[in-house]
């Protein structure tokens, strides 16, 4: 990596580590959600940026992770690791079974199929309230306990979620630079040519879909432990759209973009609450303005800004 990139990375890491203890609790709370949504959004972003697939079903795996954690820790009373594991395995299996036939589709058909998946799953979560406690919600999820340290404050959870996010980002960066990453992008850009070079598109897409689902599940399990309470309202179509907004807003092929997109969708609505009832309108307008002003995403906008400032610095 270029030296400049490493320096920027170190600075950002330093800020991310050192500043939060001095921030008010409410802001740290938002940062926690930013981390959690980043992890879920990362999965969607990989599918979008590397495969060109718009996935509107991430809310399903997010919910599965949350419900698995809730069920394992509350109903069965076993350790948190089982919740994470169950969520991941369940999400992976469903992603495999549903993904294999559905990922043959292309473009809008595929997006609609993922959307339909989300709607079906959400309806089932409502109906099967013997399992999920439906809209009443599932409470009493215990706090996480890492080697004796109980994660019961937003600040501690922030460091935990941040660490998980960092690992996921690292893994994603590895993937993008690897042989598999090349094959994915080839498949995205020219599927017929990719086939002629021996690339098996369907299996590759399915594996990335499984990976994306696993990210979603991990985010969901974290969410369950953070709030100690989950109910079906958190897992609807709005969430699925939010998870898609995040990577698109940040810049689909960019990893830091996902984090920035997540920060946007958590911090901006919060900043707008002082406008009272107008806040949702303003959020929509802000979103519109951001897209029109920075069509390549926030990362693209930042890149332009840095180019502009470098040019001015030279003048």
């Amino acid at each position: 990596m270029a030296t400049r990139s490493i320096v920027i990375l170190v600075i950002i890491a330093a800020i991310a580590l050192a500043v939060p203890p001095f921030l008010p609790r409410s802001v740290v709370d938002l940062l926690v959600f930013s981390c959690i949504y980043s992890i879920a959004g990362l999965g969607v972003g990989l599918l979008l940026g590397q495969c060109g697939i718009a996935n509107l079903g991430q809310s399903v795996f997010y919910a599965l992770g949350a419900y698995a954690t809730a069920y394992m820790t509350v109903t069965l009373g076993v350790g948190a690791a089982w919740g994470f594991l169950t969520g991941v395995i369940l999400s992976g299996l469903i992603a495999l079974v549903i993904g294999w036939p559905v990922l043959r589709l292309t473009g809008h058909f595929l997006a609609l199929a993922t959307l339909a998946l989300g709607i079906v799953a959400n309806a089932l979560f409502y109906e099967w309230d013997w399992l999920t406690h439906g809209s009443l919600g599932f409470g009493g999820i215990p706090k996480l306990n890492i080697f004796g340290l109980v994660i019961d404050t937003p600040l501690r959870f922030y460091y935990l979620a941040g660490a998980v996010l960092a690992l996921c980002l690292l893994a994603s960066a590895n993937l993008i630079g690897s042989r598999t990453g090349l094959m994915l992008r080839a498949m995205r850009d020219a599927p017929e040519a990719a086939k002629s070079l021996g690339i098996n598109a369907q299996w590759l897409r399915t594996r990335i879909f499984i990976l994306s689902a696993i990210f979603g599940s991990i985010a969901g399990s974290l969410f369950a432990h953070y709030g100690s309470f989950v109910n079906v309202q958190s897992f609807g179509i709005e969430k699925a759209i939010a998870f898609l907004i995040i990577p698109v807003l940040g810049g689909a092929t960019s990893l830091p973009g996902v984090v920035i997109g997540a920060l946007f969708t958590t911090l901006v609505p919060e900043m707008l609450t002082r406008f009272g009832d107008l806040h949702q309108v303003l959020f929509g307008l802000t979103l519109m303005a951001t897209v029109v002003l920075m069509p390549s995403g926030l990362m693209g906008g930042l890149a332009s800004l840095s180019r502009y400032m470098t040019a001015r610095g030279r003048a």
Partner: protein, 252 residues
């Protein structure tokens, strides 16, 4: 005399009530360049699609490297050493030239997704090897100067050369070139001619489809495909002297 690398026996195909190919028979001997010419609509691209596995033929046999090709997928044929180019060069637009060629190396490497995620040693080693191999081939095909440019920004001629470089970096046995000179200017066609001869000199077997008679001179043997049937076979001189061919092409 050893068996031909590719052999088409009595291949026929039809769709939509339309017979596209009938009784097509030709051999591509190992290490040679064989040409296929014919007017538009004579079925040349369909034949290529059939050989490379994009379309399943209705009748006849296709034998590649001693094995009959019936249900093998495109990817399986690719791994067996068969690569092709497309009438309009299909490069990976949003990837750099170097990355395009690296994709061609995927057949000679095998690390999987999990290894990539965890950046395991084998994955790193293979990524490095792919890069080096790709750089070498960019050099060979004079693409080094644009190696880090997006494929999207290349000229038509450069795209064609990139497509070929990407196809041969995986060390194939048979290269199918579909109208490689279309959209190229005369200089680029000369470059193409040189590249094809160089590849053949190094031992690559090539089946070439083209309407460009000059480019066809690289081929030892040429078959003329006229509305689905082979009407003549031989060297370029023999073909051009053939009365049936003259009739078909020039109406004389």
């Amino acid at each position: 005399m050893s068996a031909p690398l590719l052999s088409l026996e009595n291949v026929g195909h039809a769709f939509g009530g339309f017979t596209v190919l009938r009784e097509v028979a030709l051999d591509v001997p190992k290490g040679e360049i064989v040409g296929l010419i014919g007017p538009n609509g004579s079925g040349k691209t369909t034949l290529f699609n059939i050989i490379s596995g994009y379309v399943r033929h209705r009748s006849g046999r296709i034998v590649y490297d001693g094995v009959e090709m019936r249900n093998q997928t495109i990817q399986q044929r690719s791994y067996a050493g068969m690569v092709r180019t497309f009438q309009t060069p299909m490069v990976f637009e949003k990837m750099t030239v170097l990355e395009n060629v690296m994709v061609g190396c995927n057949k000679i490497t095998s690390s999987g997704m999990v290894e990539g995620l965890l950046s395991l040693p084998r994955a790193r080693k293979e990524a490095k090897a792919m890069r080096e191999q790709a750089e070498m081939y960019c050099e060979k095909f004079s693409l080094s100067s644009v190696a880090h440019q997006l494929a999207h920004n290349l000229s038509a001629g450069q795209r064609r050369i990139l497509e070929i470089a990407r196809a041969v970096v995986g060390k194939p046995n048979l290269l199918l070139l579909d109208e490689p000179s279309s959209g190229l200017n005369p200089d680029e066609i000369d470059e193409l001619d040189r590249s094809i001869r160089a590849l053949n000199d190094a031992g690559l077997t090539i089946l070439l489809v083209s309407h460009d008679m000059d480019l066809m001179s690289v081929a030892r043997r040429v078959h003329v495909l006229y509305f689905g049937r082979i009407i003549a076979s031989g060297s370029m001189e023999e073909i051009q002297a053939n009365p049936e061919v003259r009739e078909a092409y020039f109406g004389s």
